[in-house]
């Protein structure tokens, strides 16, 4: 325990029914490999059991510990405290989502938007034919990059003012379906993307792409959606004959 230093965590606190949120300060002993999530669970364990946070996998796969650390949206489980380089670490819940408690936001509106794309979880395009698989497993699977953490929506400046904006994650998911329709008619979802509160509402700040912890590049997907919509010559995609083009 020789290589530990004390770091102050300034943590956003809010319980339902409170008038305003406030910040609480906690001193935490931090080692070279301590993550923000480690520190927060330590606070919960030894200092304040009422601190609410959400996490699951500890390795950037589940997308449940998305939060703002020193003004940047990150996954707390893979954010090293020392690498932040600040004496005080400010921890806040994601923006642009209702706060349920302390660091936990309501992901309901996010999922409700995300689900409209009806994108399958597994990619087909990148399965390598004949690649090695474990005994009894017929084929390997490649999941989609998006871990549905909500970080992109938090980073998006437009999601902050237009509550109806479909948002980067859902638009990226729509573009994935456009890229791999798998026999599905993409007309209806391209019509979703063509909505005024969808692909055209983006103003190219690329904050979502910068913040994404999983290399989804939502803004790049939105631009590809636009290119596709533009190539259709401003016609409503739903006006096209049934059946996907690609």
């Amino acid at each position: 325990m020789s290589d530990t230093t004390s770091v102050t965590f300034r943590v956003h606190r809010y319980k339902q029914g409170d008038e305003d949120p406030h910040h609480d300060r906690f001193a935490v002993e931090v080692g070279p490999r301590t993550t923000v999530l480690d520190a927060l669970t330590a606070i919960r364990r030894t200092q304040d059991p009422t601190l609410t946070l959400r996490h699951s996998c500890f390795h950037a796969s589940c997308g449940t510990c998305g939060m703002k650390v020193n003004d940047h949206e990150v996954l707390a489980c893979v954010t090293n405290v020392r690498e932040l380089g600040t004496d005080e670490v400010r921890v806040e819940p994601l923006d642009n989502a209702p706060v349920v408690s302390d660091l936990v936001v309501d992901m309901g509106p996010f999922y409700a938007r995300f689900d409209v794309a009806e994108r399958p979880l597994v990619r087909e395009s990148e399965l390598v034919p004949g690649s090695h698989t474990a005994a009894g497993v017929p084929q390997s699977m490649r999941y989609e990059d998006c871990i549905e953490c909500g970080i992109c929506v938090s980073a998006c400046p437009i999601a902050g003012t237009d509550p109806a904006y479909l948002g980067p994650a859902a638009l990226a998911a729509i573009d994935r379906v456009r890229q791999e329709p798998r026999g599905v008619d993409v007309g209806p979802i391209m019509r979703l993307a063509d909505d005024p509160h969808a692909a055209w509402r983006c103003h190219l700040a690329f904050e979502c792409t910068e913040a994404c912890p999983s290399n989804v590049d939502p803004a790049g997907h939105i631009m590809q959606l636009r290119r596709s919509l533009f190539a259709r010559g401003w016609r409503r995609p739903s006006a096209e004959p049934q059946g996907a083009r690609r």
């Binding site: 406030h22 923006d95 642009n96």
Partner: protein
């Protein structure tokens, strides 16, 4: 050890944090593209305001030669106004170059290299603003 954070009554519970127009101009945690967004918005609104101011001022031309020329002598050749002209030029350059970026990226012509494009335009814009500013200042000395 508790300190209050500004916020309306139970607002975070209903809408979440940083909802609203302040999110547009809040530079904390913003990266290069976010800055481009903020600058594009501010310069756009600023130049639009200037456009109407300009159109109103031009009505003095209809009044006659003396009205315009005295306006020129007493106001527009003043160093303060020349400084404002440099601000205007900077706004036009930033908005114009960023607009080209938005057109190139927004139509899906350049997607993968958008960040390089942003950096290149940033450098080009800075050079154009400096050249323009020097030109304005040297012109001011000529009249």
């Amino acid at each position: 050890m508790t300190e209050r954070v500004a916020g309306a009554d139970r607002r975070v519970e209903r809408q979440g944090r940083r909802r609203g127009v302040m999110g547009w101009v809040d530079v904390r945690g913003r990266r290069l593209g976010g800055w481009a967004f903020i600058l594009n918005r501010l310069t756009g609104l600023g130049v639009l305001f200037y456009l109407y101011l300009h159109l109103i001022v031009l009505s003095q031309l209809a009044v006659g030669p003396s009205a315009w020329d005295s306006l020129l002598r007493n106001w527009f050749l003043n160093p303060v106004f020349l400084l404002l002209d440099v601000v205007l030029l900077a706004g036009l350059v930033i908005h114009g170059l960023n607009g080209v970026r938005l057109a190139l990226v927004g139509f899906g012509i350049v997607i993968d290299r958008q960040k390089a494009l942003l950096l290149a335009f940033g450098v080009l814009g800075a050079i154009l603003i400096v050249i323009g500013a020097l030109r304005f200042i040297s012109d001011a000395g000529a009249k």
